[in-house]
């Protein structure tokens, strides 16, 4: 196999954070090369380099034996490199045919010709799809087909699939693999990013494993097992960042959730958290953890499920209901959902419980509020220019402390934290862990969502693992290992196969309409 594409020593930083640290990667003609690693390992960043979307600071790219620089996505597309992202880049209001030939639409469209050519592309892939249909009306799996057809409408030599099967049922995934087999046979080089290791082992010729922006190694399904690969993906830097509270006694059950459901994202989740207990919710990004938290908090409407607090059923239809019932949420997206960045620390801190700082007439009791916020700021060791400073003037860690202070002030019994230390420096992380311990020690029931496994292990009394909208298992402290967590998070369940299949027309020759 001759190398089609070779990357050597690719380095890229984003604002001081090294996302890629001298990564090597090569792809041969007619090869399916899987790129594996945990969330944030740098896989997608590397493929954005291949697609010309970002330019590396160091390293070289060789394509068909010629050294080159990819200045923009168009340069990559002109060479025959196509990257199919997780988020599909389609125009929902245009037809299938228009989308397939998006890059080369003529000023005046000859519909007959365009539709004929689109049909020809789909035929080559072995799919039947009405090319006149509006893309927005198609199922996700069908949209994916359009995206692939778009790539194949030109002379394509390299295709990158970034988690193509994440949204597909296993039947549709199988069809995608059939397409990949055809492409492979015709000499196209294929990069395949996926968290589903079983399917990777089925279709990949080689596998490159990355961790923390660096290359761990290259292997193949013939020479390694799934366990070997998981071991390669997992790091070994256990840290002593977790201050265990001296005595945290775990009491009666506070939060009980039964059979929570919403679409494909949350499919029958049941869990419980006791007073003084910190329960982790682990799994991969997109496994339904954030959605579960939002359902418990009433931020989204649930299709089914029952929530009990202290054994009593509560009706939660909005965040207001949740806050009144005593549930707090520190959202994943601090800047858009957690804090009002333009407003002061004072205003942000008291937002979830204004009653103590407002008099009967609705006037704010400024001195009382200021004192409350100042005291909380000291308790949380908040570094700021005072309660009047806008939250936007704070560092990430201190912004997060303001969001935490909001729930310290609101004083509910249940606090859900979604990625509480994302974008927070190491020092502030330790402080936030301490605060979470403090909340638990005060008898609150804590649910923590995190994609950093060491964080879950360091902080939680037990860790529930989610995948594809379901709970896949529980890890107790004796079982804490990233291998075990990933094994639960990345193996396919039987239930997934029973999921409603997306109506993807296959090789049958019946027109869909």
């Amino acid at each position: 196999m001759s190398d089609l594409l070779t990357l050597t020593g690719i380095t890229k930083s984003f604002g001081g954070v090294k996302a890629l640290k001298g990564v090597d990667f090569s792809l041969a003609r007619g090869e399916v090369h899987a790129l594996l690693g945990e969330n944030g390992a740098g896989k997608s960043t590397l493929m954005r380099v291949v697609g010309g979307e970002i330019q590396p600071e160091a390293g070289s790219i060789t394509f068909e034996g010629r050294s080159l620089t990819l200045t923009d996505p168009k340069a990559a597309a002109d060479l025959g490199i196509a990257v199919i992202h997780q988020e599909l880049a389609l125009a929902p209001d245009l037809s299938v045919a228009e989308n397939i030939f998006m890059r080369e639409l003529p000023a005046a469209i000859a519909w007959g010709k365009l539709n004929r050519r689109a049909r020809a592309v789909l035929d080559r892939m072995g799919f039947e799809l009405d090319v006149r249909r509006r893309v927005g009306d198609l199922a996700v799996a069908q949209q994916q087909v359009v995206e692939i057809a778009k790539a194949l409408s030109r002379d394509v030599k390299v295709i990158v699939f970034d988690e193509p099967t994440a949204v597909l049922s296993s039947r549709d995934a199988q069809r995608l693999h059939d397409i990949i087999a055809v492409l492979r046979a015709s000499g196209v080089g294929i990069v395949y990013i996926s968290h589903r290791l079983e399917e990777v082992f089925k279709i990949a010729d080689r596998m490159t494993v990355m961790k923390d922006g660096a290359l761990v190694g290259v292997t193949s399904p013939q020479t390694s097992t799934i366990d070997d690969v998981i071991r390669m993906m997992v790091g070994r830097n256990l840290s002593a960042m977790f201050p265990k509270a001296a005595h945290r006694s775990i009491g009666a059950e506070v939060l009980n959730v039964e059979n929570l459901r919403r679409g494909m994202k949350v499919r029958g989740v049941s869990l419980s958290v006791r007073a003084g207990e910190i329960v982790g919710l682990g799994g991969l990004v997109g496994s339904g953890r954030t959605e579960t938290a939002r359902l418990i908090f009433g931020a989204d409407a649930k299709e089914a499920g029952e929530i009990r607090l202290h054994g009593k059923a509560v009706t939660i239809k909005s965040p207001l209901d949740a806050v009144l019932a005593g549930i707090g949420l520190v959202p994943e997206d601090r800047k858009h959902h957690g804090a009002i960045l333009d407003m002061s620390i004072r205003i942000n801190t008291t937002m979830a419980r204004l009653k103590p700082v407002v008099n009967a007439m609705g006037f704010i009791r400024r001195h009382k509020e200021r004192d409350t916020v100042t005291a909380l700021g000291q308790q949380l060791r908040l570094k700021s220019a005072g309660p009047e400073a806008p939250v936007s003037s704070l560092s990430g860690g201190n912004q997060q402390k303001v969001v935490l202070a909001k729930w310290f002030h609101a004083g509910g019994d249940v606090i859900i934290l979604d990625e509480p230390t994302r974008g927070v420096d190491v020092g502030a992380k330790t402080e936030i862990y301490g605060l979470i311990e403090e909340l638990a020690a005060a008898g609150r029931a804590i649910l923590v969502i995190s994609s950093e496994h060491q964080e879950l292990f360091g902080l939680c009394d037990r860790v529930l693992v989610m995948a594809e909208g379901e709970l896949r298992g529980t890890l107790l402290p004796d079982d804490y290992s990233e291998e075990k967590l990933l094994a639960l998070a990345m193996t396919q369940s039987v239930a997934a196969d029973h999921a409603a299949p997306l109506d993807l027309p296959a090789h049958t020759h019946q027109p869909v309409n």
């Binding site: 908090f297 931020a299 909005s318 965040p319 207001l320 949740a322 806050v323 009144l324 949420l329 959202p331 858009h336 959902h337 957690g338 804090a339 009002i340 960045l341 333009d342 407003m343 002061s344 004072r346 205003i347 937002m351 979830a352 204004l354 407002v358 007439m361 609705g362 006037f363 704010i364 400024r366 700021s384 220019a385 005072g386 009047e388 400073a389 806008p390 003037s393 909001k406 609101a410």
Partner: protein, 329 residues
Amino acid sequence: MTQSTTVAPVAAPRRSFDAGEFFRRYGTVCIFLVLVLGASFESNAFLSDRNIMNVLRQISGTGIMAVGMLFVILTGGIDLSVGSILALGSVVSAIAIDAHGTGAGVGISVGAGALCGLVTGVLVAYAGLPPFVITLAAMTAVRGFALIVSDGQPIMMDDDASTVITNFGSGFFLGIPDPVWLMALVFVVAGVVLGFTKFGRLVKAIGSNREAVRLSGIAVPRYVMAVYVISGALAALAGVITTSRTGVGSGVVGVGAELNVIAAVVIGGASLMGGKGGVINTLLGALVMGVIANIMNLVGVPGYNQQVCMGAIIVIAMLLQHGSRWFKR
């Protein structure tokens, strides 16, 4: 008074004078002062007591509506129906004062405006429909109501019944026209509400980051609805002032008034994205609009040219305020 003064963080690298920040904050004041200065050079009559009172009286309606509009814009919304509600307020007040006396008449009129605001408010806040379209629909429908109620005719009041209201319209207290006092009262109350109450805080917070406020357990729709009620009530109040000045209720007044009102609020530095804006700057914005119209009249700019000039001056005001972007780069 109402703006929370932000303490500059020590670490942030800042020049001693940040022109962009200065204009963002004091742009409206600067524009106002420059206009007044220019106007007094252009015409000797401009600074006369009589002319100043005239300007103030003319902006009293716009100013009152601008307060309601400020609340709506702070939440990130817009209310295009205020001109039509003004007309409804004018018609209803003339009829109701004639029938039920001044106090009840004014109350009924303001209530009718509030009701209009309630309908748009419910549609925007609870049904989640876009405020631009909903208030545009209300603009048409309410104008129609005003014309139906008045049968398309000016509504004359009985002389006895209208004495109190027309005295208010043409009267002075301490040398200042009565409607100007009413406008001042509205501004003071609004300033207190925005600066010192839970309601005012939440209105601003919703415009700043609606989702964060919702996820703090605040019943956001309730507050969004309320600002449209306030805007409707104040627009009808402006209609009462119109009636008080002419002694006639009319369904054709206030056509295009919403644009002047929005211009006043925006010249006052409010952001149409929500969250930013204050009462004092809104008053200045209304004054700027009034002064521009006045000076063009004094200097004798023809009517059509006035419209072009007005448009140009609004653009210049915007360029000055948003200059911060270019100063920073």
